[in-house]
Amino acid sequence: MEVVDSAERPEVALARRLLEGDSEAFTPFVESFQSKIFQYTWLMCGHREDAEEVAQDTLMKVFESFDQLKDPQNVRSWVFRIAKNYCLMKRRKSVFAPEREYSLDEALPGEDGSVLAAHVVDTAALPDQELLRGELHSHLFDAIRELPDSYRSVLLLRDREGLSTAETAEILDLSEDVVKQRLHRARIALRKSLSSYVAK
């Protein structure tokens, strides 16, 4: 008999119910994933219209190939892998895609403590009341968008969606070591960008 984990994530339970033929799980599944996929595609594509289109294409592909979901436990990484592929396809067709994606290795100072620390503002300069400013949202959006795609996707999947290193590596076809390195550099680059906003 299959043991069902009573603490499993809601999306996992919904996927399991759909695979068992429970049609009442359809609407909550769509609502849960439509929002998650859209947040990811919006921050990857940068344009609302593109993100809507990519999110809908992703949902259609998810349902068309639902029989290929072998284990409901993997539903989040399975869905985000499909979303990542559609984002890549959209990007290849985009006239705005850069010819070459730069690496944060080129943009960030080395791993020397004093040099690196000089590039990030003291956290005391970014108090909560500062964060509460509405304009920070738009600056944060721009800061995320400025990250190279390969770093942005790691940051969004790990820090935004809370996926594990192993899940993120599987979605993006990377080794876990590369995921860890890119996440570290993306976090530093994001903070550096926010530091320059506060310093203005």
């Binding site: 993100a51 809908q56 020397d112 956290t123 570290h184 903070r191």
Partner: protein, 94 residues
């Protein structure tokens, strides 16, 4: 008990590991060495604080946009696609 020691340039060893330290992905010995170093290195502590602030920004402060509601027609197409996939799962040879 002796603490695990760091090599000649502890900052250059520690900095690339700080994200993994925050994420709880390091072993007990490495965590001990990093905690000990952070207590005495203001620069590394500053980078550590910056990393935590970045994580908080991505988790809590990124703007949230709601997608447009799906049309009835799109929902019907998704339901149909699911039914076809589930039927194929039931009977892969059909």
């Amino acid at each position: 008990m002796t603490q695990p020691s760091l090599q000649k340039n502890p900052c250059s060893e520690i900095l690339p590991l700080l994200s993994q330290f925050i994420d709880g992905e390091l072993g007990a010995d490495q965590c001990l060495a990093i905690r000990s170093h952070l207590r005495q290195c203001e620069s590394c502590q500053k980078v550590m604080d910056a990393l935590r602030a970045s994580i908080e920004a991505a988790r809590e402060w990124l703007p949230c946009e709601d997608p447009s509601p799906l049309s009835d027609e799109t929902r019907a197409k998704l339901r149909d696609a699911l039914q076809v996939a589930l039927a194929r799962r039931q009977n892969p040879n059909a």
